[in-house]
Symmetry: C2
DNA sequence: ACAAAATATGACCATGGGTCACTTGGTGAC
DNA sequence: GTCACCAAGTGACCCATGGTCATATTTTGT
């Protein structure tokens, strides 16, 4: 009897539909001003039921953050698997794709940046945190793979440490400066995209063969 | 009669002592778990009085953040004014000093990283936000100046855009990756400091003459 | 048909940010 | 010296909201 399996599927579905509702509410009102009652209503459930699926408001946010990571992963995977580009050609595309992601999914991008805020309020060894960290590593591995492919096709210097560089880039993607992509020009005439692209240009010169 | 001046001084002093108290409380309990009552008690004032000096809990946090920026500014100024080093020699010191700052002032470092969180909840045109942005620009100018000095002493390529690079570095300093300096090793064997230093090493090769 | 288990409800609680009517004490005019 | 005035400070109070739990409903296996 597949009852247990079906129930599991339904539970998963319910969980997803709660996240759907939470996204609509949080993205609309902002995390701070959205209430769990709002989410419950939007999800057509009682507040109590929310807590059967997520331990806290912060954990619900982490679930959204995880979706953001998945979107980004998909984008980077596409780049990695593109066989028409050499490694070094893919490099500046990383910045380009990230900026595109930030502009096309501003809310999800925003959720990425609030990582620290929510993470602090979730149990460090909880399932959600663990799997979020895992997802994060996956993305770093994809970036790292792209660099390594460039080393194989000889367009990127062999002595570059791909793993370290991929982490540095990730830090760069999620810094305070890029976070202003959405909100402000840091300095007149300079918009944040230019800064990120310039940064990549410099690095490109440092790593190309 | 210097009464008005004296009162102004006293007001400033009171304000500073509230920030002192807030630092002790926030750094101890964490922003989330600290209450305004805690701060009031620590400052030997009533809760209502706090609101005569700061409009909200978030604004109080921004005041702390501003102090963090001032500490960092002082550190970078010292480097800028050191005449025994060439521009390019100063460059990797930027990373070194930042990491030292993060380790010696972990709480202030932490406060820097919560910029977005608190900023969102303060009026965008308020005095505190404005002066925080100003302070941030000051730091970027110092970094930029260091790079420009390297161009004058011919140790850094003339065609490097110092202003853009300084912003890129700032983004790098405050990314999610470096934020893990305090909390976790992202990947076994790699600690965040290594990543930042490696990043600087690559950039150094890209900008040196 | 029925008990047990899973799922869902919403009234309720505790907490804490922020307010405001009121008190206090220094100040300066007379 | 007196007194009206005002800035500075107080803390009881308001109320929004995250989270809980006793209870109700639905689904299940037998």
């Amino acid at each position: 009897m597949g009852v247990i399996e079906r129930k599991e599927r339904e539970k998963e579905l319910r969980s997803e539909s709660i996240i759907d509702a939470a996204e609509r509410i949080f993205f609309n009102k902002g995390f701070e001003h959205a209430t769990m009652n709002d989410v419950a209503e939007e999800a057509e459930l009682s507040k109590g039921a929310l807590y059967l699926y997520f331990h806290s408001k912060n954990e619900l946010c982490m679930a959204i953050l995880q979706r953001s990571l998945l979107i980004l992963k998909g984008i980077f995977e596409l780049l990695r698997d593109n066989n028409n580009l050499t490694g070094i050609e893919k490099f500046p595309k990383l910045a380009e794709l990230f900026i595109t992601f930030a502009k096309e999914h501003p809310n999800h991008y925003n959720s990425l940046l609030s990582y620290r805020e929510h993470r602090e309020n979730c149990p460090a060894t909880g399932k959600i945190i663990m799997s979020t960290i895992e997802e994060n590593k996956n993305i770093n591995n994809i970036i790292s793979d792209i660099i390594k492919m460039g080393q194989v096709d000889k367009t990127i210097k062999k002595d570059i440490d791909a793993d370290k560089l991929s982490l540095a880039l990730w830090g760069n993607f999620t810094g305070i400066m890029p976070s202003s992509i959405l909100s402000e020009k840091v300095i007149p005439d300079f918009n944040p995209e230019n800064i990120i692209e310039y940064h990549f240009e410099l690095l490109l010169n440092a790593i190309k063969t």
